[in-house]
């Protein structure tokens, strides 16, 4: 029955796609994916176009004439430079903390001799990985909130309650927790590629474990470290949910400014200019990673090698 369907399909295919065209099969297979991603390219085109028109405040429409006013506005208004700086600084802090925590996690997961420990570490990693940002931010709200878990403990001990939520450190905490699984998963293949013999050799030559880490393990894991750092950095830089929910308006990132420029102040031109700027920064970082660590850092390109 199934075979009959397959044979009939084959007969049909041999008519519309004769074997002379089979050299093109690769392109045919790629076509749907290329077409879907092209929707994003069109979207970027629209954004670029919108970003080049100033908002006419009398009609609340974009002016016909092309200008760089929106980009000028971003550079002129201290509020946008502050937002940009705040996002970049957070990306840096989150990357450093996350990769610092991710490395021992990946290392232990690869090196442990106990299959049960390995499975436990994997499950503990994948569970939060499969739980979205909003739910995890909500968990932090319960913990850090005004009447949250930590403040209840503090007041229970007779101590004054603290403002733990709606500030920059809360956003950083939420982001580190969110990024940790990404960082570990990107680091693990690089750590797994390091043979344990190399470490043993280093130690038999008299190096202690810190020296072995410093001079052998970490240099050998550099591609993985670069890859996960760039991914964590860009994901943090472009994040929306954590600054929105845990920052409560005090710690807006670029993404929040883009959202607000569209939904709050209805200035699509300005939002588009911010979006183009953010895309450029993000792409530059990825390009930098390709240049430093080679294309092999991303699993998709790795597959063929």
């Amino acid at each position: 029955m199934t075979l009959a369907i397959l044979q009939r399909t084959d007969r049909f295919v041999s008519v519309v796609w004769p074997s002379g065209l089979h050299g093109m099969n690769g392109y045919l297979f790629l076509l749907p994916a290329v077409a879907l991603v092209f929707i994003l390219v069109i979207a970027l085109g629209y954004m670029l176009e919108f970003s080049l028109h100033e908002l006419d405040l009398s009609t609340y429409r974009l002016k016909e004439a092309y200008s760089l006013t929106n980009y000028q506005t971003i550079l002129d208004r201290p509020v946008y430079l502050r937002v940009l700086w705040r996002s970049l600084l957070a990306a840096l802090i989150v990357t450093v903390i996350t990769v610092f925590l991710a490395f021992p996690y990946a290392y232990l997961m690869v090196r442990t001799s106990s299959a049960a420990t390995r499975k436990f570490l994997l499950v503990a990693l994948f569970l939060p990985f499969f739980i979205g940002q909003v739910v995890r931010a909500y968990g932090w709200l319960i913990i850090l909130g005004k009447q949250g878990l930590l403040n209840s403990i503090l007041t229970g001990l007779g101590l004054p309650a603290l403002d733990l939520i709606y500030n920059y450190p809360a956003v950083i905490l939420g982001l580190v927790q969110y990024m940790l699984p990404f960082a570990v998963l990107l680091l693990t293949p690089a750590v797994a590629a390091i043979s344990e013999d190399v470490e043993l050799a280093s130690e038999s030559l008299g190096a202690n474990w810190l020296q072995t880490f410093r001079h052998v393990v970490i240099p050998m894991a550099t591609p993985g470290l670069v890859g996960s750092s760039v991914v964590v950095f860009t994901l943090t830089l472009t994040d929306f949910a954590m600054p929105e929910i845990l920052g409560g308006g005090t710690s807006d990132f670029i993404a929040n400014a883009i959202y607000d420029s569209y939904f709050q102040i209805s200035n699509i031109g300005l939002g588009a200019a911010l979006a183009i700027l953010l895309t450029l920064i993000g792409s530059a970082l990825v390009a930098l990673m390709f240049m430093i660590a080679g294309t092999g850092t991303l699993a998709v390109t790795e597959a063929e090698e």
């Binding site: 790629l30 994916a33 991603v37 970027l44 570490l121 739980i131 998709v300 063929e304």
Partner: protein, 266 residues
């Protein structure tokens, strides 16, 4: 001081910290969802299932949950053929500009989500398909497509092309070979990818926030909207639904391909 013991203590100390960090919000949400009180407070006001019961009676929750399933289903359905074929093409077929195409297919990762969200809001508005659910599914498929391609690519490498040649020598036609030889060989990757796509779509928040309105709100957006008003324990119960689905996904993934697959050196 720098012996193997200090190494174990230092590493396990950091990992223990990470483990607490990773599980803390989840554990607290589960605890809070069982409170008997009107508000979330510590220590909780006794144990009850009242918030789960309320959830069942809440139409808005059920509608949002159904919509979220629908959107994730559309996303997975589109990504299955599109991602599988793209992965086969980039890894197995002779293509010019392979590098360029691979970088192009990574665009959904390199373009920030907030930009993709706003951009697709504009494009979908231009072609007048906003206010419906299927475009949301399509959008979530586009932004996560590299995950599907990545998952399938990983298993294409394990596919022996001699098998396909053997089938061809035995007289099998191309479509038959594809469905009886190629596809079964890459099935672990296809299943992993589909599972990833479903879970990611089920959780996706930012792009959905741009594309849904109050009539077609999905669960992550609804949770977000509720967080902004009053935090009641029913939200914790909703979140437990997410935790449950994550548990199931991890279990299925482990059963089908084994979580250890992610530990392999490339």
């Amino acid at each position: 001081m720098n012996g193997p013991r200090s190494k174990a203590i230092a590493l396990w100390g950091l990992v223990a910290f990470s483990l607490i960090l990773l599980s803390f919000p989840t554990v607290i949400i589960i605890g809070a969802s069982f409170t008997a009180g009107e508000i979330i407070q510590f220590p909780p006001e006794g144990f009850s299932l009242r918030w789960y019961e309320k959830l069942w009676q809440l139409d808005s929750f059920q509608d949002a949950l159904l919509r979220t399933f629908y959107v994730s289903f559309i996303c997975t359905l589109i990504s299955l053929p599109v991602g599988t074929l793209a992965a086969l093409a980039t890894v197995r077929y002779r293509i010019r500009f392979r590098r360029t195409l691979q970088v192009y297919l990574l665009l959904p990762f390199t373009i920030p989500l907030v930009v993709s969200g706003l951009g697709m809001l504009i494009v979908f508005g231009e072609v007048r398909i906003l206010g419906q659910l299927w475009p949301v599914g399509l959008a979530l498929c586009i932004i996560n497509l590299p995950f599907m391609i990545w998952a399938v690519s990983a298993s294409v490498n394990g596919l022996d092309s001699e098998l396909e040649n053997a089938a061809a020598n035995c007289g099998a036609a191309p479509v038959q070979i594809f469905f009886t030889v190629t596809l079964p060989a890459v099935m672990p990757g296809v299943i992993t990818g589909a599972l990833l796509m479903f879970i990611l779509a089920f959780n996706e928040f930012l792009v959905s926030l741009f594309l849904v309105d109050s009539r077609i709100v999905t669960l992550p957006v609804q949770i977000y909207n509720s967080i902004r008003s009053v935090i009641t324990p029913d939200l914790a119960a909703v979140s437990v639904v997410y935790i449950l689905i994550a548990v199931i996904a991890v279990w299925v993934l482990d059963r089908l391909v084994g979580l250890e697959i992610f530990l392999r050196s490339k």
